[in-house]
């Protein structure tokens, strides 16, 4: 519902396109194109069907798509319409994303300082002036968290009721989805709806419907819980300056997805072209490529990144007028960070591909193709590239998680994303000292770690399934086992 309103606001507002937005949507289009390609190509389709046939991969895929959806919603930026009657301006001054608009109560309900998850009182005592002029120490009620409650004792009951409502909604939604999917399936396979519906919970066909439904149920429940409790409580508490941790964690999704995908996007063409060419042609080509990547690679990553971030900051300080808003600045820094990370990262894959190609070109079928007089491009495209693609895929997903983790470390040294940007790395970094507090503040750290963990876990599981499906040797193994 809130999402719908937010999208309406976006539609009526003035669209703002940041660099990362553009790149993300470009990536999305590339994915759609890839999808179309896979649909046409029968062997690829078979492999992908195998990926989606595995239950963990399917669950991961759903989780990943939720993350990506959040990132995309957070990439639709706009300036909302100004309420009529104020000055002559048509649009408001600040830039929002659809996600910001959808999470408006969480975004704007900032407390003074720390509060525990779902708390109604602050974590720390403050001095309160009594009407009679005496000062006294107490844990003050929060400005927003649980402010609808007259009596603090009602909190438990209120939370329970809201959770029950959320769960009921979730079950209902999932049941509806189940019914709808059954309907579609029944239509497609010409079965009766009853049979299709009863087939879904079981393991009917190649698609693990049961897993899909369970994943959906969990995700929808979490979503409903946030929607139900979010506006009234700080579901995951607040941080040092009173910002909602849930909101920050959700905002962090986009940063991670951007770093994980855009860096790789920059990496891929370079790494593939150079790696394969070096391994295949050897000789001077190999020497040149090796020189390039060894030189870059032999500079320790952290130092190279640190040096480049300095350059970047100098550039941005010199061209301050180009970035009129906070978002634009942070965004550009993010793009540049991706570029810098990309420069230090492509070499790994490049070396891997070179090594693999070196091995492949000694294989019989390559010799055979050469003997048959096939051109270099043909061999590269038909014999070599398909046989190294699994490496590319695996590296891409492994790098995805690695990059998400690297961001935290870079922030620790102070050369990560813009400190004003919402990112899990920044959250973990500021939470470093919070754990040592007394009483310990664990929720920021836990929230960021949990969000990160789920994303990285899903990415890794998905990567494994992809590898199993695409690695020819693994396939051979499983076929042998099946015999």
């Amino acid at each position: 519902m809130r999402l719908w309103l937010a999208l309406q606001q976006w539609w009526s507002g003035e669209a703002v396109l940041l660099w990362t937005d553009a790149l993300l949507f470009l990536l999305l289009m590339a994915l759609v194109a890839a999808y179309v390609h896979v649909r046409r190509d029968e062997p690829l389709r078979r492999s992908w069907r195998r990926v989606l046939g595995s239950a963990p991969a399917m669950a991961s895929a759903i989780v990943l798509s939720v993350y990506i959806l959040v990132a995309l919603l957070d990439s639709l930026h706009f300036r909302p319409l100004q309420p009529a009657g104020e000055s002559g301006e048509r649009y408001e001054a600040g830039v929002l994303s659809v996600l910001d608009a959808a999470l408006t109560p969480e975004r704007t309900h900032t407390e003074r300082s720390y509060s525990r998850p779902m708390a109604i009182r602050a974590l720390e005592m403050t001095t309160v002036m009594d009407p009679d002029g005496l000062s006294r120490q107490e844990y003050p009620r929060l400005k927003y968290g649980g402010s609808h409650l007259q009596d603090p004792a009602q909190r438990g009951a209120d939370l329970l009721a809201a959770s029950a409502r959320a769960l009921a909604q979730a079950v209902l939604t999932t049941l509806l989805a189940w019914a709808a999917i059954s309907g579609v399936l029944a239509r497609r396979h010409g079965l009766s709806w009853r049979i299709a519906a009863s087939g879904i919970p079981g393991r009917a066909g190649a698609v693990p419907w049961r897993t899909i439904m369970m994943t959906l149920l969990v995700l929808v429940s979490l979503g409903c819980l946030c929607a139900e409790l979010g506006p009234r409580y700080h579901l995951l508490g607040t941080d040092k300056v009173g910002n909602d941790v849930l909101f920050q964690s959700l905002k962090g999704v986009r940063t991670s997805v951007v770093i994980g995908t855009l860096t790789t996007l920059l990496t891929l063409p370079l790494a593939i072209a150079f790696g394969v060419a070096a391994g295949y042609f050897r000789g001077p080509v190999d020497d040149a490529v090796q020189y390039l990547y060894t030189t870059l690679d032999s500079i320790p990553d952290v130092l190279l990144i640190a040096a480049m971030v300095l350059v970047m900051q100098a550039y941005m300080a010199g061209h301050a007028e180009g970035f009129s808003s906070v978002q634009q600045r942070a965004d550009l820094r993010l793009v540049l960070l991706c570029a810098v990370l990309g420069i230090t990262r492509w070499t790994g894959l490049c070396r891997l591909l070179r090594g693999e190609t070196l091995k492949l070109r000694e294989q019989d079928y390559v010799h055979a193709a050469q003997a048959l007089g096939a051109g270099h491009l043909r061999i590269l495209g038909h014999q070599i590239l398909p046989n190294v693609m699994h490496l590319v895929l695996i590296t891409v997903v492994m790098q995805f998680s690695g990059l998400v983790l690297a961001e935290a470390v870079l922030s620790y040294i102070g050369i990560g994303v813009d400190p004003g940007m919402h990112s899990w790395g920044n959250m973990i970094n500021s939470a470093r000292l919070e754990l040592a507090r007394e009483p310990a503040v664990w929720w920021s750290l836990t929230a960021a770690l949990a969000f990160m963990l789920v994303l990285v876990l899903a990415a890794n599981l998905f990567a494994d399934a992809v590898r199993d499906a695409f690695d020819p040797r693994a396939t051979r193994r499983s076929e042998e086992a099946g015999r």
Binding site: P300, A307, V311, L405, I413, L449
Partner: protein, 325 residues
């Protein structure tokens, strides 16, 4: 073979030249000596004359690439490029912007770095190979799946968290080891234990996963099936054949990191107050001591190139299929 090695050694020279040029560009064009002077002189009361004086004292008062003020070869040698960058090739690191002899510092700090890095590497290798073998023993079962899941969970946790958590629990709550610091001689082991433990813990997820893949790959080969068909037990097959063959990629993978052990671990050393090269680098970055960063970049590159050389040689030694192209 010898010719190959010689060729590879010569090959390292242009790489180091490339590194040298890149660093020179970053550290002299992007950050000018004026910036360095201002930082080195401290916050209070810095005047342009003092900046000039500092530059003179540290030898930064020369032109970057070409000195038209002197005659002969001095035109090229009396420049910052020659003085500050090319000299690195002679392992003459010069003195830091703070006035310290970098070569001496590096020599002193290498020990503590190795004291952390070598045990971490060895213990991690033993633990990871051990666990990976155990898992492979149960391949395809729920134990395998569960262990894999744990690995993935472990590797999706930030190293920072392990360090913070480990220091908090083991050092503070359980009081089993000093929270940070370093000792002399035999006394050092008390300080080394905690960082090594945490370093191993932080890498175990990814390591086990990788080794498991290696072992599974070997395990799927024909000769293993033959061995098994001969009636050898699973354990014997695993230890004798799978481990034996998989050690080739494992060990060659280690060779490349061997030289860089000298550089230490940035995060571990700075968190645990270990006076090694890693914390040296972090401090240099934070203090913006460009001379040290320059030296470390060069040293890092040098060691890395050495590692690559060793890897290539070991590859050709263990896998005759790779030709010396």
């Amino acid at each position: 073979m010898t010719a190959y090695i010689v060729r590879r050694c010569l090959y390292a020279v242009p790489i180091l030249v490339g590194v040298n040029l890149v660093t020179f560009w970053l550290f002299f064009f992007v950050n000018t000596p004026d910036d360095m002077a201002r930082l080195a002189l401290g916050a209070k009361h810095v005047t342009p004359e003092m900046v000039a004086g500092w530059k003179q004292q540290h030898g930064y008062d020369r032109p970057l690439l070409f000195n038209s003020a002197v005659r002969g070869t001095g035109k090229l040698t009396e420049t910052l490029f020659y003085r500050k960058s090319l000299r690195l090739f002679l392992l003459d690191f010069g003195s830091s912007d703070g006035g310290r002899d970098i070569g001496h510092d590096i020599a002193q700090r290498m020990g503590p770095s190795l004291a952390i890095a070598v045990p971490t590497l060895l213990v991690a290798l033993a633990v990871e190979v051990g666990i990976a073998l155990l898992i492979v023993m149960f391949r395809g079962s729920y134990i395998d799946l569960f262990a894999l899941l744990i690995c993935i969970v472990l590797m999706s946790i930030s190293l920072l968290f392990y360090v913070i958590g480990g220091q908090y629990l083991i050092g503070k709550v359980w009081r089993l080891a000093p929270i940070s610091g370093f000792g002399d001689g035999v006394d050092a082991w008390r300080f080394v234990a905690l960082p090594v433990f945490i370093g191993v813990l932080g890498g175990v997820g990814a390591g086990v996963r990788v080794y498991r893949t290696y072992f599974l790959e070997e395990e799927g080969r024909d000769f293993i099936r033959t061995a098994r068909a001969k009636g050898l037990t699973d354990g014997v097959v695993l230890f004798r054949h799978v481990l034996g063959n998989a050690m080739i990629p494992v060990l060659t993978g280690l060779v490349v990191v061997l030289p860089s052990l000298f550089l230490g671990s940035l995060i571990m050393e700075s968190f645990f107050g270990i006076p090694g090269l890693g914390s040296y680098t972090i401090e240099a970055i934070q203090n913006q001591d460009f001379a040290i960063v320059r030296a470390m970049v060069f040293l890092g590159s040098l060691l890395y190139v050495l590692g690559l050389l060793l890897t290539d040689i070991s590859y050709t030694l263990v896998d005759p299929r790779v030709r010396l192209g």
